[in-house]
């Protein structure tokens, strides 16, 4: 343990905030799906993984990065809609455990398929953006860009949900499913659109993550539990709660990692999570009853 309130500590705190932007974006997609459709996509991080491979291949084929990123977002948005149509819809009225099991099946299917298709090597885009020096501290540009884009996209989603008809329907359907036909709303269409948005958010996260992380078939196992933990901590389905929880967990990881070792950062984050869930099983900011 080696911790002082010095510039390295401040750097760790700020890096934790930058990381939290990405975590919040990842949690938002999962929370949106759960809040609206009442199903947990356990395979959410695997969609991100597929998106990362998609962007990697497009980029390596000579497509400029912004276009490759857009391809990744559209690809995973379509994958999200397909996941809903093919896997979730048949079990929509089944017990939650069955819904978990089918999306868990998709998790292992995607992982195995990625291993077969892309091998187990770590892949990297090879884009180097350098770092931003600031008051004696240093932050990698890829993290800064990730943070800004993640926040901007969350703001855009919030505007969409609060201003548009379909966004209002997405919020309404989570509160009363049965009467949606009386409003002239086709629930199946709202679910499909929500799934595509949830997938699109995973695709966007993939586009940001390829700038920072190596790609390998099991990367979902590194992020999946973390995303799930953040969602539960914030109150599953509560998008604002997930956002705040991401910043709490980001600090545990960054400060724990800076004062001790990176692994300890994750360990303390999960320890905090367990204690928090003992005390508040519904999550820190539970809104749904």
């Amino acid at each position: 343990m080696d911790c002082h309130l010095d510039i390295f500590f401040l750097e760790a705190v700020l890096n934790g905030i930058l990381l939290a932007g990405l975590l919040a974006l990842l949690a938002l997609g999962l929370n949106l799906i759960f809040g609206v459709i009442d199903v947990v996509w356990i395979c959410y991080a695997e969609l991100v993984m597929v998106g990362m491979y998609g962007i990697h291949h497009a980029y390596k084929a000579g497509v400029p990065f912004p276009v490759a990123a857009l391809i990744g977002i559209v690809l995973i948005a379509l994958a999200g809609a397909a996941l809903h149509h093919l896997v979730i819809r048949p079990v929509l009225d089944s017990a939650p455990i069955n819904q978990l099991l089918v999306t868990g099946g998709v998790l292992f299917l995607l992982q195995a398929a990625a291993t077969m298709a892309f091998g187990i090597d770590f892949k990297n885009l090879g884009i180097r953006l350098g770092s931003l020096g600031f008051a004696g501290m240093s932050f990698s540009w890829s993290r800064v860009i990730t943070f800004v884009v993640a926040l901007a996209s969350m703001l855009a989603l919030w505007l969409f949900l609060s201003r548009t008809y379909i966004g209002t329907a997405i919020r309404a359907i989570a509160q009363d499913r049965q009467i949606m036909p009386l409003m002239g709303v086709d629930s199946r269409r709202v679910y499909l659109i929500t799934s595509a948005i949830g997938g699109g958010l995973a695709g966007l996260a993939a586009a940001l993550m390829v700038l920072q992380y190596d790609i390998y078939p099991q990367i979902g196992l590194q992020f999946g539990p973390l995303i799930f933990m953040i969602c539960v901590l914030g109150g599953l389905g509560n998008m604002l709660g997930g956002f705040i929880a991401a910043f709490i967990i980001g600090q545990f990881i960054a400060i724990g990692g800076s004062c001790m070792a990176t692994e300890w950062g994750y360990a303390t984050a999960f320890l905090f999570f367990m204690v928090a869930i003992f005390i508040r099983p519904q999550g820190l900011f539970a809104a749904k009853s």
């Binding site: 008809y165 209002t168 329907a169 919020r171 309404a172 509160q175 009363d176 049965q178 009467i179 949606m180 036909p181 009386l182 409003m183 002239g184 709303v185 086709d186 629930s187 809104a287």
Partner: protein
């Protein structure tokens, strides 16, 4: 305007409506009365498409309601104010009204109709940013009716509008139904409060265990000994 012929409907393994036939003409206010469990709510749910009919015919003007998807029925000019109001409790009043105008044709006239319902219910305008679930029961009933009017309906189905409200508010709600008639809406209302509702409608149907037992002008039913004994406790 609305015509039902020999409608059967029910839930899993349980039939709730048996050969129900009825008509509602344009500009009329019609009540469906009956005891708890007689099938009144089921009848409205069948008309608005929440529950599919298993047999019979059902037409709104020239549209066959059984042939179109449930979420299209509102576009045929039918708005349903469901039992217990069923507002979206964690959406603002104005977002609730927006949901009432979800259908494409209604969206185009959102601003105009919003002005109209706010002029009918100035209280809602004051509370437009408030979460619907935090309002009083009477205000919620106003909001539920306003939400229904946002679709620009010709026929409004009201399910137990007085349910769960204090007696003084019940009075206001019945006044509201009168005003809707004056505004030119055709109204089909389901009520347990038989003596009150028969004073504000033209005609009524009496539903007993899923069958139309009798029907007639409201004044006639109000004077009938049988109905006074069975439903008004007189």
């Amino acid at each position: 305007m609305l015509e039902l012929r020999d409608i059967d409907a029910g839930y899993d393994g349980f039939q709730a409506l048996f050969g129900v036939s009825m008509q509602v003409a344009a500009g009329e206010a019609v009540a469906v009365i009956g005891a708890n469990g007689a099938g009144k709510t089921t009848l409205l749910r069948v008309i608005s498409g929440l529950l599919p009919a298993s047999a019979g015919e059902m037409n709104m003007e020239s549209v066959s309601l059984r042939a179109i998807a449930p979420h299209r029925i509102v576009e045929a000019g039918i708005a349903h104010v469901p039992e217990g109001r069923r507002l979206f409790p964690r959406l603002s009043v104005e977002s609730n009204l927006k949901m009432g105008a979800f259908a494409p044709a209604a969206r185009a006239r959102f601003a105009e109709r919003l002005d109209y319902v706010y002029s009918l219910f100035p209280r809602l305008k004051e509370r437009r940013a408030q979460l619907a679930g935090t309002m009083s029961g009477g205000e919620q009933q106003m909001c539920a009716i306003a939400r229904a009017l946002m679709s620009g309906p010709k026929l409004v189905l009201l399910d137990e509008p007085s349910m769960g409200l204090a007696p003084v508010i019940v009075h206001q709600v019945f006044d509201l139904v009168r005003r809707m008639r004056a505004e030119g809406y055709t109204v089909l209302v389901v009520e347990q409060n038989v003596s009150q509702v028969l004073k504000i409608v033209d005609r009524a149907y009496l539903l007993e265990v899923g069958r139309i037992k009798t029907s007639g002008p409201a004044a006639e039913l109000l004077a009938s000994d049988e109905i006074r004994k069975a439903y008004m406790g007189l």
